[in-house]
Symmetry: D2
Subunit: 417 residues, 4 copies
């Protein structure tokens, strides 16, 4: 089966979107040119489990231009853009994804991707790699190495490696600076608030926004929410991150206190049960809950249901819960990552960097996979620097260059006061 | 010789300052209590080459309360607070430092400190350790380990380690999060601008401020300058840092272009010759130059002199250079780190964390030095977390705690979409 | 004819939206309660030419609850929300509006509204009042007074008054603090950027955003764009506003220079020909143009067409122009006010204040119109203060109250140094 | 008597300061050139009661260059810079002022200034004009008109006018946009925090700063405090200003609640008893109190004394109060305007505009005083625009100019949708 998509007739519209994204992704464009010439993926099959957006489409096409057979499925039930999926199907990518997919079909699509017998896997949340290590261990035979896009996935992979369960080397693309310092911080910052506004049309100025988690994602959301005039309250479990939030001028409090204050709650922790029954019970009437972490476990939906006498959709991305205590709580995007489910995910220009890291890492793995130990590896430094340089060039930004004397000074230790 | 200070009669005034600092340093206060009880430095001599400020005085006294004999000299000719030095001398610290010290006397004082035969060295810029490795190698006999406070020093030490020149283990206190993420970022950010304003009484709103370097120090200065209304231009040599500056909304340009635009220039790179003749020649009339990096080599003062027909002081911290081209350039604090030379250095509350890291690291070294390889080491994680927790407690900030289920979730890799 | 809408079957969906807005508009809710009891508009007909959004629907219903017969048409061809219009039609409002209306039908609808023989007119841009003064002068007979919502309309009305052409008193609702300091600044700030992001999914961080005009609207856009990480360039014609922009840390330049620098241009001036041929000719490839001023004359579309060999839509709100010079320029929302055409207009919570001003002004006019001279009047201070107090109460914000001694001090002039 | 100053030998040092200020005041420099040529103050005596700073010195000299005999006294006991006063005395200005003046001497100096029989009075806080209207009514004979620099003074003058007590026309220079939008907002914002930092060397990042009053001064302080990383709490009595503070992202609360939260309190209200016994009693240990309003009545010092068992100075600008409840409270600069008493007042570049308004207003009054009614008048618009244009030119900022078509469009009311 070459593809499973919602409606192949949406391909033309999908192509317009992909073109738009391509224009915003000059780094990938430069890499595509090189890949076409050098064919790093000749005879290579790549299985990718990613959010099927216009930006992912650009990545898939760049890999294909480099000679790869690409097998693609979605990494979240609500994040697939059906027109983009149709366009990819038409362009020859093996794609199995649609928006609103059931849990059963979700795993069916992952299995279809593995049927392609890939050498390289690319994950966003480690679902594909988990499946390989549990029910599809025969797929291990063909696999050289894997790549992981997101914090949550890297946490899972490091847990696997620690348990000795990991069976092939994986590169934590998420952890390279040109990825997580940009995509997680600037991308999540803007796109999460964009999604909240699209879903609710709320004015952020003057609102109390509770941000759970002050990692790269959470601090990005907190900064941009303040940039739009919100009064931001941060909750954290890590003392160093908590202190940074305080010093950045935010009000830091435990969730049990923040729950009483917030108008809007946004979780970005990578952990479960960040907002539970005990918090919901003390929230203000008409509190709004959104999650921008990878899985829909940060806000406990079972708890929300248990407190409610009824619920109903009030718009495509907002569910109204009528609590037994007489209050309403609004849940956005079913508690799934709101920027993909209620908006368009990260802007293309930031995915340009993350996916340039993915593309160059894949080419590097195609060449170097045999030298790698079975563990979680970093992206090589030269890839990171190259992506940054290409991006600066595309933006027309010039920077200084160290003189030989300056380099020597940095390497010396005899000069002093 | 117990001490060499400018004027011992300033001790009372110095004590008032030290008390003020102590009140702002609750983490060190908590550590002092523990040290008094446990005496971690019994029979231990500690040599410290640090900016002799009221905050350093608090550290020195805490070490002494832990049983140490402390030998202290300054780490910069312009940063000693003479009243504080007097108070320390009176309190029994072996101190050799005064403001405006000559280069020759500077090294005489370093040598006096080494005459104490220390087991632990604490440096800010690696001058003491350099001296030990060059002209005072006999001091190596008694030394267990060293500690380094600043980025510049760590760069020098890593260069030494790389060259195989390092002779004893050193802990890079600068590199621990509770130090460089706070002191370098928040501390330098505020204190540098504070110093520029004290020296010039200039309004930052509407001014073009060029910040050279976008590391922790430079980005802190850039953010706070914007927070005061300046239009900030960033220069950098590193592509990833450059991109972050762009994404943070700053105008990034090479110094040759920035030189024409700036009203005020602040260097924070850790490298030499950041602002040279070719930049000064194209600057606007009345441009102001300040350095907040460790050494006075970032702005080339020889170049400035070679372009000038005369110069004169116009206030205690500002030298007016009359250029041959008819323009004036104002050099602040002789190009030495402006926050210490033209203001009071970092606020006590941020040094509380840096020096808590120093104090706890010293106690840890006293116990564990024999297990360490001869290399540059990180501060143990538990020290970093402890400092953050103590600080939060002192500020009255409460944070969340992971439940057992949340910890388990973070350690697991089987749960997914 | 009771109504002319696109599709009456959309009423249920429209009602959901209106309910959502009502919940965000507590000040109007409080006023509705009073109006129901006091019936200030008994036997009164009100003609309103406003953007037909969910917020306007709430206003229309509040006026109706106060006893008024309401006649409503749209104030812009692209701003009507068809589901909301359907819901209003069903609820008994006389409404004539649909999205994408032709110019001819637009004026037909204005005429239908006047056929209702209103005593009070409410305008957003002064189109209704202009029509009355030109082709529908017989309508003047029944009219007591008018109200104007926006800066552009007030400029037109003051020009009319200056020319002696104005025939009945009008209240400049736009000019009252609780309107223009909030709706124009916070509302336009967020909703304009929201619209740009919805239309293009662009990342603002690192982009050069040119904002034309630094009045309440423009400065709001500039501040929020910076809050999202953009590098903002401001163009202005007024020297005092220009200076404020400089002091607020923005780069201020004439449009001829800004045109070369910008990635995104947003006009908010209230004037015509802000961006013309000479600017477009020097723009970068892929520049984006949006207008958030009242009329679609700020960006010269005829000029854009004259420079282009072709154009095509690339999404619902973006038209791609292929210039003869090989570049592309993207025009958003046909140059009409982008926040209403490409997003949902101002958030309800800010329209709550603007429309509370409208509702209370209408009630005040119903009582006091005969005492007013034929001129442009301010909203009475007590209305402004009442709206602010109701809003604070709805947000749960408490403030201080002057003691008698403090009031006396402010009124005295004898006490001094 | 030509002068009464602390120490005439400080004149050389004062001159250096005045030169520094002159270089930062290009608008006044341009006006000086014109005044020298046109001599607008030939045979005119001007009495000024202003903070005797280097910027005031530049104004005084510009007036003198325009032909005026200038008589100058201080407008606050703690704000005189003695070296500047000495330099002015040497240059021929009739000056009576020194830092730390007693209340009795303060009024003696005001009387000396009036002995000069001025035609124009310039006030900062209305002390001179109050004296004239109470004990020196004979001075009214020679007086044409007055000018007032600050909000507090304008409030007093309007109260006088309302009571029918005002005896000559006064121009509220404070109220013109190029004055209060810049000096009060940007100037007070920076200089107040500068003073707090100089006095205490506190880190603002992470501190809770309570700002009382959200007018131009208070909102400037709040914005800059946030810009330095503080968590800002605003107290207000005006509902519209309160709402703006909320929408700007600040936490707004009554002082009785804010008193429990704050680390630092800054009053900027123009009213008395903003912080009293009931607030001090619930403050945290080591709370710091500063005032940036005109008079030292905003913080009740009698209340602070009544709660304390003792107090002592801990530095030149900080008094430590030991409360009966065991806490300490630190009062900065005796509760007088902290930016002048603990730092150098507003930066020269912003006073350039305020004092250009004063200089041009004085010249305009010299010509037009006979046409003015006895009331509080605005600065003529053309003066305001001229100051803004001169400032932009001095900063090298270019702006757009309206075309004839654009002007016509703004004046027309027939064009519409």
């Amino acid at each position: 089966m070459k593809y499973l998509v919602k409606d192949i007739s949406l391909a033309a519209q999908g192509n317009l979107k992909i073109q738009w994204a391509e224009n915003e992704m000059p780094v990938l464009k430069a890499i595509a040119k090189e890949f076409k010439a050098k064919q790093p993926f000749k005879n290579t099959k790549i299985a990718a489990c990613l959010h099927v957006t216009k930006e992912t489409a650009v990545l898939a096409k760049v890999l294909a231009q480099g000679g790869a057979s690409v097998f693609l499925c979605g990494s979240n039930p609500l994040s697939t853009q059906d027109d983009v999926a149709a366009a990819l199907a038409k362009s020859g990518i093996n794609i199995y994804a649609w928006r609103g997919i059931s849990n059963k079909d979700y795993y069916r699509c992952l299995n279809l991707v593995l049927d392609g017998k890939p050498q390289i896997t690319i994950d966003d949340g480690a679902d594909l790699i988990s499946l390989i290590h549990s029910k599809r261990t025969e797929a291990l035979k063909s696999i050289w190495a894997g790549q992981e896009e997101t914090t949550t996935g890297v946490i899972r992979l490091k847990a696997m490696a620690k348990d000795g369960a990991l069976k092939y080397p994986v590169v934590a693309v998420n952890d390279t600076p040109t990825k997580h310092m940009f995509d997680n911080y600037y991308g999540t910052g803007q796109s999460t608030l964009d999604a909240v506004i699209r879903a609710t049309n709320i004015l952020l100025a003057g609102k109390k926004v509770v941000v759970a988690g002050y990692g790269y994602c959470g601090s990005g959301v907190a900064q941009k929410a303040r940039g739009l005039g919100a009064h931001v309250i941060v909750t954290e479990v890590d003392p160093v991150k908590s202190l940074r939030a305080v010093m950045d001028g935010f009000y830091v409090a435990p969730m049990r206190e923040a729950a009483k204050l917030g108008d809007i709650f946004i979780t970005a922790t990578g952990d479960r049960d960040v907002i539970t029954k005990k918090h919901m019970a003390v929230m203000k009437d008409r509190a709004m809950l959104a999650n921008t972490g990878h899985f829909n476990v940060e806000i406990s939906i079972p708890d929300l249901e248990s407190l409610s006498k009824s619920h109903r959709p009030v718009s495509s991305a907002v569910e109204e819960y009528n609590l037994n205590n007489g209050n309403k709580i609004y849940l956005l995007a079913e508690g799934r990552l709101v920027n993909l489910a209620a908006a368009e995910g990260h802007p293309s220009s930031v995915m340009d960097m993350s996916f340039a890291d993915q593309a160059l890492t894949a080419a590097w793995l195609a060449k170097n996979h045999s030298k790698l130990s079975i563990n979680v590896h970093n992206v090589p430094d030269e890839i990171d620097r190259r992506v940054a340089k290409l991006k600066l060039a595309a933006m027309g930004v010039k920077i200084d260059i160290l003189t030989p004397e300056q380099k020597k000074y940095l390497a010396s230790w005899q000069e002093g006061t």
